[in-house]
Symmetry: C2
Amino acid sequence: MVAARSDSPQRPLLSRLDRRYAVAGSLIDKNSTVPLYLQLAEELQDAIQSGSLAPGGRLDSELDIATDLGVSRPTVRRAIQELVDRGLLVRRRGVGTQVVAGPAETGSRLLSLYDDLSRDRKRPGTQVLSSTTLPATADMAHRLRVQPGSPVVRLYRLRSADGVPLALLENFLPATVAELSLTALRSASLYAVLRGSGVTVKVARQKIGARVATDEESRLLGRPPAETVLTVDRLAFDDSGRPVEWGRHTYRPDRYDIAMTLTV
Amino acid sequence: MVAARSDSPQRPLLSRLDRRYAVAGSLIDKNSTVPLYLQLAEELQDAIQSGSLAPGGRLDSELDIATDLGVSRPTVRRAIQELVDRGLLVRRRGVGTQVVAGPAETGSRLLSLYDDLSRDRKRPGTQVLSSTTLPATADMAHRLRVQPGSPVVRLYRLRSADGVPLALLENFLPATVAELSLTALRSASLYAVLRGSGVTVKVARQKIGARVATDEESRLLGRPPAETVLTVDRLAFDDSGRPVEWGRHTYRPDRYDIAMTLTV
DNA sequence: TAGTGGTCTAGACCACAAG
DNA sequence: TTGTGGTCTAGACCACTAC
């Protein structure tokens, strides 16, 4: 409701502002450790997803919101930009900011299958099929920027949702990157485990494709032979720009697809 | 080269700054219509992709760059943020900004297949197989936020690269959105044609999956029956947040995959 | 003409990492 | 302690849209 432009223009501007301002005090907490622009972004997202801000509806101007909330315009702009990046708002100069139509999609469904499943309340499970250290092939060495022959950890995991096999995850990591706890890997995503070891994944580049499953993949995924699989080939980098993980994943396309929001 | 921190710390700081400053004048043009932060972002991207800024290399601090170039720190921050979003740079507080390893990937490969192919110099071609207006089914009406039965344009196109069939593109648009020139569609992307009609696509939500091709798809794509196809199901919105296009696309996975960069 | 978002400035204080 | 990026302020001018 806050920052929602009234659809009844006959109501005086000032009283609308005043009414909102009375609520504004509870909106953002300047003493919180959470940045103001993130607090405001979350408030706006809640308002959109709860329907208080209807699709097609216009927000108040950035300056109005800033005045109402007692923050600066750049802070408001940054909050709005967050939601533009998430595909929930669109802006036009000379016009204003409007809510994008359609259902409020949830998270990314891009980087962590485990977290995706958790968010969808799907009860994720992980079976570590194999965990070995082997010398880097030329291909691995090239991708991971290590010397050929240097030790690389290979993880091979079967990810399931509600007990049904969903994906085969093959990952390669330079052995120098981290010691991995197999126990932890059963109940968390690889990136979460890495974070616990001080490795922060910041960027990933990936390619999505499709092909016919191998016999092994079909067997492990509990599918008839020669079915289709969705594939993801990913290289992840940490916060110093160094490659820390190369992943080749195959998904059952009858039970999973990759969702994303694009902004121009 | 500009803004590259020297790897030889014995060189005095001041002379490094002076040397860069001499170049700085040609770097950005304050009278250009191109925003300063975009000019700087392009300069930095060129420096990274040309190898002047090596993977793992550190940039000068934001304040140093701002001083050198004679712009404010927020402008420099915004330029750097652009490249962080593109997955070329990573930042750590207390440490600095570093270049992400790996080959400089080109564009998005996400929204416009036609533009992707052009960028890769692949000579894209389009055959409009069908262009009809039909009443909206319940499914179309729900997605496009129109009344069931209201007129919807259905486009069915075969996209090829260097003469080889690559993808089947089926699109539905509310007839009120735009008049589409079939001639223009043969030599441009749908979104480019829409833009010419005053419709600006700002946001799109899509799901990527895979399945076995239908007989018709196999025939049109010039493939044996029952091969795998990569599928994209997309809903696009214009700059007022209104749904303007629903697309169902199928790709030959042996000749195309979907590449993207993710940032956390 | 009035109002909107887009860009830019010149400061400030802070949390964090490293020496 | 020093330097880094992270956040925030309080202005300013502009291009564009709608009336």
